[in-house]
Symmetry: C2
Subunit: 214 residues, 2 copies
């Protein structure tokens, strides 16, 4: 069986949550954790936690639980975040600039190495809070991908510009895209993840009963 064959997608997604929780446990000085504790912190059953982890190996010790340090190392290896990923950002609008300043990416090993934008009035500018990063034209993108060994791109552009930006990044050699534009990108054969901010608010609206709340 190949690496990700037969492993449920939801299990992989939860892996990130386990990692986050384990890092938090470590920060509090916990060095051992049970599937029950891990599950409780994340709103999952203990069986779910054990099953998920078991897809990737045998990390626990019966009667004891999981070693926090060890499990963190294992999950990072599985996710491929036991290394640095160079990431480029397309779109230097409000969202793009906020992402550039966000410290969480670097903490997890994702380095934003460059920002691009179509808008000439932004090109050449630096971004407050991200010293040394200058907005570049899209024409520079292929060179940056090659020189900085970039594999991931974050799209923070309007929906109307997203497809073009994605095509451009892929042609330059990028292999995975995190898309914040509210549009489904077409015909891309690469790793993809999408975040549509308003979609989540709509889900909340639905959960609240959709209309009977004055």
């Amino acid at each position: 069986m190949s690496r990700s064959d037969s492993i449920p997608g939801p299990a992989v997604r939860r892996l990130s949550l386990y990692l986050r929780q384990l890092e938090s446990s470590l920060g509090v000085g916990k060095h051992t954790v049970s599937s029950r504790q891990l599950g409780q912190a994340l709103g999952l059953t203990d069986a779910q936690v054990r099953k998920d982890l078991a897809y990737f190996g045998q990390f626990g010790r019966p009667g004891i639980g999981y070693d926090v340090d060890d499990l963190i190392t294992q999950i990072r290896r599985i996710l491929g975040t036991d290394r640095v990923w160079n990431v480029l950002l397309i779109g230097a609008g409000n969202l793009g600039r906020a992402l550039l300043c966000y410290r969480g990416f670097a903490k997890k090993g994702f380095h934003l190495v460059a920002v691009f934008d179509k808008d000439d009035s932004l090109i050449g500018r630096t971004v407050e809070g991200a010293p040394g990063v200058v907005v570049q034209p899209l024409s520079d993108l292929p060179n940056v991908v090659r020189e900085h060994n970039v594999h991931l791109a974050i799209l923070a552009v309007p929906a109307s510009a997203a497809q073009e930006a994605a095509d451009c990044a892929l042609k330059a050699g990028v292999r995975g895209i995190l898309n914040f534009a509210p549009v489904t990108l077409q015909g891309l054969s690469c790793a993809m993840a999408s975040v549509d901010l308003t979609v989540h608010l709509e889900q909340l609206s639905f959960q609240l009963g959709g209309g009977d709340t004055a």
Copy 2:
């Protein structure tokens, strides 16, 4: 059967995507659409689209397809976005300010009516790009919830401040929370949605094979 009983969660999530695509179709002057076309644009099967929509009613016409205008109206009603939702934002850091400037929320009927922060140095300031909005202290939150009839809150605070902020919002009467902090909130009996930006990058890292990419 009650409103959301027996309706798969995934179907509700896709409803937002259908709406987004339909609005796009309308913008291009398309007034009728088939389940096949809708599915193709979103990377879904036609059967999936029909099944999803059928959970909520009979909106299509055999031999014809779906009327775009009508379906948009129906989905908005189902999601509860055929009205304005007043939303408050907690956290006036980089992400918070970017969200405040993001036009997409207002377009979908979510009005950000106020921003709050714990940090005294931010209180009283306005946010560039969001004229008229002044950062307020958390102590003002209950009054704002009451006066502006707020039901939703967006959390754009650090992980360490998220639980407190959520508790505060809930106590004031907020009924749904969109959480951007990388932490699982505990003991909240309200509608919840979470977005962890780094989790999505980790998923891309995993998809790329996790380590064999130089």
